[in-house]
């Protein structure tokens, strides 16, 4: 085995992706300045997408520590790098909340609202409280992510096992905070787009989507790092097989939660709840509505059902790419219908959103990967992970 992990190992980010990130970002900023509703929605979709990768990485790293898992330690630097993108998502989302809060329909008052929760909603969705909460969520996530990553990198230098046990404690408490903050953030930033509508399972649905897409991104990253050299002697078919199993499982989990939300609303058939699905199933939206299930569940489920495809990197990468497209579409379906009419828009703003997502994710994750050795050199579980058998 070659000496793992020197900084030069991770190849430089191709210029194309930097151009994509800047081009997509500038286009959307221009749209926001011009006051375009579609650019607003496209920016939120892109922000939520990249945020999902960061939160998914944070969750995965925490889960490894809490469960004492060794199998993924060999490529833990990938989810760590994903978690290190959280400050960028913070800037993207806070910028929207600070400079264009009027995109939220409740910003100018909740006049039409009534019902038992009206007073609570008015208080909850008061603008200063809304912004303060957003800042608090990001502080929690960024502090957690940077503390975990910092301990892990200190361990590279001194090999002290106490860094691992500190991270276990940090992850255990962090996961509790994670559950609360991610739930509230999904209510605040997405569900409040339709302040009279609510779904109690919405946060779980958000979590399912973000973790599924983070797994897909992780698969693409580790296969790429394997092909390009840094993880060549480190990543084995057993690691891939387990990542494939997780992607399969969380695709099914996403579908399960998606259907739980849909069926309860469909069955109860209460007008203030069904509006959400009426908007999203009419006309051409209905096609995208079905496509969402196809990309996020049917394709990964059918392709990854048997064992061999879960072990073949070229198939896994394609399924992961489908899931990532599905994630963008899922967010698009949550956010865009509120801003537009009966025809799903697809043009400059939406393309810019996709280009920004792809460019920003790649640039940010690779930049974070280059900051540390590609494997946690002195992690006590590393040796076990390198010889992992599923």
């Amino acid at each position: 085995m070659s000496a793992p992990g020197s900084d030069a190992d991770v190849p430089a980010t191709p210029r194309l992706w930097t151009v994509a990130a800047i081009g997509g970002g500038m286009t959307l900023v221009a749209g926001l300045v011009a006051g375009s509703d579609r650019a607003w929605a496209a920016w939120l979709v892109a922000g939520e997408f990249v945020l999902g990768l960061g939160l998914g990485g944070l969750f995965f790293v925490s889960l490894l520590y809490v469960t004492g898992s060794s199998w993924a330690v060999a490529f833990r630097r990938v989810p760590e790098a994903m978690a290190a993108t959280l400050p960028a998502s913070a800037i993207a989302i806070l910028a929207l909340l600070l400079f264009r809060p009027s995109g939220y329909p409740w910003f100018h008052g909740l006049a039409a609202h009534e019902g038992p929760l009206a007073a609570f909603k008015v208080a909850w969705l008061s603008y200063p409280f809304f912004v303060a909460r957003a800042v608090a969520y990001f502080v929690v996530w960024i502090v957690l992510a940077s503390a975990l990553v910092r301990q892990s990198r200190h361990q590279d230098l001194d090999g002290d096992e106490r860094h691992s046990s500190r991270n276990v404690a940090l992850s255990a408490g962090g996961l509790v905070l994670f559950a609360i903050t991610v739930s509230l953030a999904s209510f605040d930033w997405i569900m409040s787009l339709e302040p009279n509508w609510y779904s109690t399972i919405f946060a779980v649905y958000q979590f399912a989507g973000l973790f599924q897409s983070a797994l897909a991104a992780m698969i693409i990253a580790v296969v790429w790092l394997h092909r390009r050299g840094p993880l060549r002697d480190i990543l084995g078919e057993h690691h891939l097989h387990d990542l494939g199993k997780l992607l399969f499982a969380f695709s099914s989990f996403w579908m399960y939660i998606w259907f739980s939300q849909y069926m309860l609303i469909w069955y109860a058939n209460i007008p203030e709840e069904t509006t959400y699905y009426v908007e999203r199933t009419q006309g051409a939206w209905g096609v995208l509505f079905l496509l969402d299930m196809l990309l996020n569940w049917a394709v990964p489920f059918l392709v990854l059902l048997r064992r061999p495809p879960k072990q073949r990197p070229e198939i896994l990468v394609k399924v992961a790419a489908v899931v990532l497209i599905g994630r963008w579409l899922d967010l698009y379906l949550m956010i865009t219908p509120v801003k537009t009419g009966p025809v799903p828009p697809f043009g400059l703003w939406e393309v810019a959103s996709i280009v920004l997502v792809a460019g920003a994710s790649i640039v940010l994750v690779l930049r974070a990967l280059r900051r540390a050795p590609i494997v946690p050199l002195n992690d006590p579980l590393l040796a076990h992970s390198l010889h992992y058998h599923s």
């Binding site: 259907f259 849909y262 069926m263 069955y267 058939n269 059902l305 058998h389």
Partner: protein, 174 residues
């Protein structure tokens, strides 16, 4: 059938001995371990299990049968209006269909495994070695013909730290 029983003390040894026995073209009747040893299926060159197919097909059957049954009860045989929903309300069928699929797939896989493995309550357990359910690993080889050289095979097993070798006549593989 004339067999050669090799007893090992360590997981790594049984893995390597099995691998070596397969490579030298010996007939491996079975390998006995106190717990599931990862990689043993590959060392024995076992074909992938066919149980997943039983699981998949019976699961598919369960789901299909249940959708048909729900359709028949609510829309065809005795149509009932529930809350103004269409009689043939597919989303309402999904949870039960899912459960029945899991039930069929799970139970049928276990039953198929019992049948194939010959596992039944009145079966007399014949252990190839008394400690194989505790801390010993056993490789069972068949002495296929006169070309089977016990000395040579013993030497091969000794390279992998076999602790006990014994020739045994058997009616069937336990």
């Amino acid at each position: 059938m004339r067999t050669l029983v090799g007893v090992f003390e360590r997981e790594e040894d049984i893995l390597q001995a099995t691998d070596a026995a397969r490579r030298s073209g010996l007939t491996i009747l079975d390998v006995y371990t106190p717990y599931a040893v990862h990689g043993l299926d590959r060392a024995m060159a076992l074909q992938p299990s066919r149980l997943p197919w039983v699981c998949f097909l019976l699961g598919l059957f369960g789901a299909t049968a249940k959708v048909w049954f729900e359709y028949w009860t609510t829309a065809s045989s005795w149509a009932i209006d529930v809350g103004g929903k269409p009689w043939n309300s597919l989303p309402a069928f999904v949870p039960v269909t899912f459960e029945v699929m899991v039930l069929f797939a799970g139970v049928s896989t276990v039953i198929a495994f019992f049948l194939v493995a010959g596992l039944r309550p009145w079966r007399k357990a014949v252990l190839v070695h008394p400690r194989v359910t505790d801390d010993r690993f056993v490789l069972l080889l068949e002495q296929t013909d006169a070309a089977f050289d016990v000395t040579q095979v013993s030497r091969l097993l000794e390279r992998h730290h076999v602790v006990h070798i014994e020739e045994r006549e058997m009616q069937e593989v336990p």
